[in-house]
């Protein structure tokens, strides 16, 4: 017994070593052959070995886009979807962990000064001149007013290639390539509110006591709160997107009072929470995002993305290139961005109820009926399908809020990060804990 026992480990030891040697040799051969086959000097083939890692929110980090990139451009796009706090955190603190950051403009205002993103040369962007002017000079039409908050154009350009200082007017160096944006408002259950909703102040109407909700992402929630307080006439703001300490205190005092009176049923943080609150009837009026409204409706439950007389709170996102991108990877990233603006993605996003940055190219990828429904606010002639081919709206339906110009032209404020950000966040957390 003892003989066999002492013998057998030795044999395993030898065979294990032999095995390791064999594996190492095989690996060596594999690496060698890989280096040989991966050698071609033609750029188009070389680019296939490139993998670009993109982080962003679930909103626009779509697998369909990654698949289409592989088919159209040949390289691999790896998507990681996170919530907006996590994106900010990752983008600022782990710049090596991504190549492309899909972030909102207010996030860019926070992280660009940290020097983790490199600006893009607009000369290399084919459709730069077709980008919606909101992102260039802040005006949808030459006559429209610039909304409050972190308007995309105000953080859209920097002064030079290596600058982290935002430029006052358009320059050669763009921080983010705008990809997706929308105008947000309150979502309501028309079957349960029992009266027409026309103003932000209706969120705090005592009639909806215990049936209202607000989103608990401080930099966005404070905007909705400000829209409400301004509509009530309780607070006058210099700039809702950059409040003073006093304005923050006043706004949150009103919200805290409402909270203590039991106005709110819950606060939500993620998309699906807002959908569940609304579809279960726990909440009948709340801040909401457009696809969440669509998701509630898809369950057969009536839900309206109610346009309000004070206007919309808008948000916009874009793609930023990580500082460490150089050479071939940088070329691939430009290729990707040019492709992004070339229409296919634009049409995809427009069909979800968002807006794309270059409208002309997106239009070419949409049917006339789709374009009329989503962009011109006209009744649908046929059933409107979502990008996966499911019926989203029946023929005859009209988009809540109407046409692109009616919606984006009535933006009161952009999502923002304030100078008093730290103070605001502390006060917001006090409000949530109150």
């Amino acid at each position: 017994m003892s003989d066999t026992r002492s013998g057998s480990p030795a044999t395993t030891g030898v065979s294990r070593r032999a095995l390791l040697k064999g594996t190492a040799a095989a690996a060596g051969v594999a690496v060698g052959s890989g280096a040989i086959t991966g050698f071609p000097t033609i750029w188009a083939q070389n680019i296939k070995n490139i993998t670009l890692r993109q982080i962003g929110t679930g909103v626009s980090n779509l697998n369909a886009v990654a698949d289409k990139v592989k088919a159209d451009l040949g390289f691999t796009l790896q998507m990681t979807a996170l919530d907006s706090d996590a994106v900010t955190q990752r983008a600022a603190t782990q710049p090596k962990s991504y190549d492309i950051a899909d972030i909102e403009y207010w996030i860019a205002k926070k992280i660009f000064p940290a020097g983790v993103i490199q600006p893009m040369d607009v000369g290399k962007l084919k459709n730069f001149d077709k980008i919606v002017p909101i992102f260039v000079n802040g005006k949808l039409t030459p006559s429209s007013a610039i909304a409050q908050g972190t308007a995309p154009h105000s953080v859209g350009f920097v002064e030079g290639k290596d600058s982290t200082k935002f430029a006052k007017s358009p320059t050669q160096w763009m921080t983010l390539i705008p990809t997706i944006y929308n105008a947000d408002t309150l979502g309501i259950r028309p079957d349960l509110v029992g009266r027409p909703i026309s103003s932000w102040k209706d969120l705090l109407d005592p009639a909806f006591k215990g049936k209202a909700s607000l989103l608990n992402i401080p930099s966005i929630g404070i905007m909705d709160a400000a829209m409400v307080c301004e509509a009530m006439g309780a607070v006058t703001y210099g700039d809702k997107g950059n409040m003073t300490k006093e304005e923050i205190d006043k706004t949150l005092a009103i919200m805290t009072e409402a909270k203590k009176a039991g106005q709110f049923r819950a606060f939500w943080k993620s998309f699906d929470e807002s959908v569940n609150l609304m579809s279960s009837g726990e909440v009948i009026i709340q801040s909401m995002w457009s696809p969440a409204v669509a998701a509630v409706r898809a369950k057969g439950i009536p839900c309206v993305y109610q346009p309000l007389k004070e206007g919309y709170r808008a948000w916009g996102g874009g793609l930023g290139l990580a500082k460490h991108l150089t050479g071939l990877e940088l070329d691939a990233a430009y290729e990707y961005i040019n492709w992004y603006l070339s229409g296919w993605v634009g049409a995809y996003l427009n069909r979800q109820g968002y807006y794309s940055a270059v409208l002309d190219t997106a239009k070419q990828h949409m049917s006339a009926d789709e374009w009329a429904f989503w962009m011109e606010g006209k009744p649908a002639k046929t059933d409107i399908l979502n990008p996966e081919g499911k019926v989203m709206e029946k023929a005859g339906a009209v988009r809540d809020g109407g046409s692109f110009e009616e919606r984006m032209g009535r933006v009161a404020c952009w999502n923002a990060v304030m100078d008093e950000d730290r103070y605001m966040v502390r006060k917001w957390n006090e409000f949530i804990a109150a």
Binding site: Q89, A266, R422, R426, A433
Partner: protein
């Protein structure tokens, strides 16, 4: 057995001492080093995975920060802001309230269940079967167990619709969901087993002869429980209490989901700070929380000496 052992030891020691020359020095040195080497794996593990992280947290808690960066520094603002904010105190009070309620309820449930299993089920196999039944809910993730309360307690949930259909109430009961009630309910549901197991374990070690002796001396049923079983179950109660209290004190997700984001706990406060990149503030908060929980555990250990009783 004992005889051979005592013989072997004295026989062995002199033989070691009489070993001549360098061998003896070597052996002595080895004997001095050996205990350290034996303790080394645990020490290294604790230093790497416990001491260093906690020290890091402590160091970071004195750093400064802005909205994106953490700046190495030595400032007391994190602690000052934390300790002077009435919200901190309210949140601590709230968390302690949740912990106390959960502790009291799980203690009653845990003691009752363990007592039933240990003293009323006679066969060992049935004890094991019923004990396993207690653990069945723990086969699913605790998030799922928590979330499943939401459709049950909601305004149009199962409970409210049943009560309305039965004519007990005409308006749905709003306090059932997104309230302190639902938070404590979920805590009790999630943590009751941590009370049952150690108390059951303690009770199984109680000598049944003591119960018989108490009865022979004329004790009534409740007197046996109060004067014999309860004192002898103390170590189990203490261990269970440590589990429940520390779990509730450090929790953030139960509070967030079950209160609908309306109520706060310290864990949630820390989670919020981390998500806003305020690592130093979160670290300061974590240090304070650690101190408070350690004090609570120390207090519990003052009442019951677990080591003596194990």
């Amino acid at each position: 057995m004992t005889v051979t052992a005592t013989q072997a030891t004295p026989g062995h020691v002199p033989s070691g001492q009489t070993q001549p020359g360098g061998g003896a020095v070597h052996a002595r040195r080895w004997r001095r080093v050996a205990p350290y080497l034996q303790a080394a794996p645990l020490a290294v593990t604790l230093i790497l995975f416990l001491l260093i992280p906690i020290l890091t947290i402590l160091v970071v808690s004195f750093w400064d920060y802005d909205s994106v960066r953490v700046i190495p520094d030595f400032v007391l603002t994190n602690y000052a802001e934390l300790l002077t904010s009435p919200v901190t105190w309210k949140t601590y009070l709230n968390t302690v309230k949740f912990a106390a309620l959960t502790w009291a309820i799980t203690l009653v449930i845990g003691f009752a269940v363990a007592y039933f299993l240990a003293f009323h089920i006679r066969s060992t196999s049935w004890q094991m079967v019923l004990f396993l039944v207690c653990t069945i809910p723990f086969w699913t993730s605790n998030i799922i167990r928590m979330i499943s309360w939401i459709p049950f307690l909601g305004r149009n949930g199962l409970l409210n619709s049943t009560l309305i259909a039965a004519g007990v109430i005409d308006q749905p009961l709003e306090f059932l969901l997104f309230s302190d009630f639902s938070v404590v309910l979920a805590y009790v549901h999630l943590n009751a087993l941590f009370m049952v197991v150690p108390i059951f374990n303690s009770m199984m070690r109680i000598d049944r002869a003591l119960v018989e002796a108490a009865r022979d001396a004329g004790a009534a049923g409740w007197q046996v429980v109060w004067n014999v079983i309860l004192p002898l179950s103390k170590p189990g109660i203490a261990i269970g209490s440590i589990f429940v209290v520390t779990l509730v004190m450090g929790d953030f997700i139960t509070v967030r989901l079950m209160s609908g984001g309306q109520s706060a706990s310290i864990g949630l406060m820390i989670a919020n700070e981390i998500s806003l990149l305020q690592y130093p503030a979160a670290a300061a908060n974590a240090v304070i929380l650690l101190a408070v929980v350690l004090l609570m555990v120390a207090a519990m250990l003052r009442v019951v000496d677990i080591r003596k009783e194990l």
